[in-house]
């Protein structure tokens, strides 16, 4: 698609991540870094599921909207999201007094649709699969004006997400050896790569939805296949990553890792029993890779648990599957 916001072409920086971290620390306490033992190895889980909107997306939403000009704030923002970025943007928009319109798939979890609406955002639904969500957003902006807040392909969003890495280094007292990160379009992964230059970054994606891992391997954007298999990770289904994310991750990230639905469900059960945390499927992907032994672990390893927004019935079914 054509880019309606040419200003987005600037590259995110480590300095920007550090500025974002200061701004976010003033409004949100750090999420806990919880010790955990996995397959005999002690490591850490960063519980972003405990953010006020239940996911790390509040970071990027806050930093992007805080950096709008007064004129842009007055025109409002448009975002496209399966639910967590929606809530992050809606939360920041409410706090800053900005009108927000969110394009969401009709099949997004009900809990995410309701939470986004409750934060005061206007919701426009589209069909997934079928419609191109970026086109729906571009059309909306053409009709109404407003600034697109892309879920991952935006320098401020990337810097905002990276603030989690600044928190992690402060909590650990040093740089992690490696970070396992649940990956949709690559916004958080890119932010962490900038925040923690000494750490290996392992992107973890659902089986057949590894658009970031494939792009890193190919050195070019790769689009999802025409008829991809379904995944329970509703938050990790991008059509493709964006050049800005690939540019940051290329040469920085380790080879990508993928996880199956069953591995993800096992990780949700582990988060329940070992950590007393509710993880949504996409939020448990990195933990799934750790439990399945797909990435080596040590006491300086951090696993991102990125979100916890899931319907009670789905979660109960996952628990019963034990």
């Amino acid at each position: 698609m054509s880019n309606p916001n040419p200003v987005q072409q600037r590259m995110p920086t480590r300095g920007g991540v550090q500025e974002a971290a200061k701004s976010i620390a003033a409004i949100l306490p750090p999420t806990p870094l919880l010790p955990v033992e996995i397959n005999g190895a002690r490591c850490h889980v960063k519980a972003e599921s405990l953010q006020p909107v239940g996911a790390f997306k509040i970071r990027g939403g806050w930093w992007r909207l805080s950096n709008l000009s007064e004129e842009e704030k007055a025109r409002g923002v448009v975002a496209v999201s399966s639910g967590n970025h929606a809530q992050g943007v809606a939360w920041a928009a409410r706090k800053l007094g900005i009108a927000a319109t969110i394009v969401m798939p009709r099949n997004a979890p009900k809990v995410k649709l309701e939470a986004t609406r409750a934060l005061g955002a206007e919701i426009v639904l589209y069909e997934r699969p079928g419609e191109d969500r970026d086109e729906v957003a571009a059309r909306l902006i053409e009709e109404r004006g407003g600034t697109l807040v892309h879920a991952f392909g935006d320098p401020w969003v990337i810097e905002g997400q990276g603030s989690a890495g600044v928190e992690i280094e402060a909590q650990l007292g040093h740089a992690p050896s490696r970070i396992l990160v649940c990956c949709g379009g690559g916004g958080l992964a890119a932010g962490l790569a900038l925040a923690c230059p000494e750490s290996d970054i392992h992107v973890v994606e659902p089986h057949c939805w590894d658009m970031v891992g494939q792009a890193i391997a190919a050195g070019a954007i790769v689009r999802v296949s025409q008829n991809p298999p379904s995944t329970i990770c509703d938050a990790l289904q991008p059509d493709a990553t964006k050049p800005i994310n690939l540019a940051v991750l290329q040469g920085r990230a380790e080879p990508g890792v993928t996880v199956t639905d069953e591995e993800v469900r096992a990780a949700q059960r582990f988060a329940f029993s070992a950590l007393n945390l509710v993880a949504e499927p996409g939020g448990a992907a990195a933990l799934a890779a750790a439990l399945a032994g797909k990435v080596p672990l040590d006491e300086h390893t951090v696993i991102m648990l990125t979100g916890g927004n899931t319907d009670a019935a789905s979660f109960a079914e996952t628990l019963f599957g034990n």
Copy 2:
């Protein structure tokens, strides 16, 4: 019962709570104080369910065992617990290299029995209802020696639990207006009363198991009735409070509040959907009282979510009950 540890008769102090808080801060990061909106009121939830053993009991266990003499440490400790105090003592014992024997009811949640065993403690089972757990422990100590670590009637345990209040004041930046606290025997409630002298303390107990609330009202120890109704709050079933707890709470705590099983289940569902937290029934009692409108709430109110150790099947059933 006769007290096998006369040294326990010293009274806990606010200074002791502050010392305990320093000792605990050196080994455990603060648990998060999460903002939440309940019936239109903004308030805070202290997520003690995120402690390494899944409950606040790690505080009292650590402070009590840290204060044993070298000779006492060598003789080992005995504790009686439905599961969370068991894990708190077992965790501290392992960290300090002390042998721990834990007396647990045969009908304690399987997850609590297994976790206690996994921490290296020896478990002795008793029948609940039927056997007097204090008598089982006294007999064990007579046979084997060792120091009894009472779950709530102990000055170090009370001071250790109170460290949560020191954390809360640091996190809020001031004293809470009131604290709603899930209450079994009254160890945490007494600790918080000492830690936060400016705050109202509201003890919340299961229907018909309000041994602390009744004792406060009567100004004397009240024992549970011969055939009390069952409660899903397995962690909140003391036969009676102890004089040391009553002495601290008398004149300090507000009139007690009780909650039903249904109110507790609704609170577990609320913790799941609004906070992405797993709360065990007893851990959700204070939240249940808040949701049911039984205590007034304001932005300086703190609700203790004291534990999250629950079996997957029970939790899934609670979720489906929505």
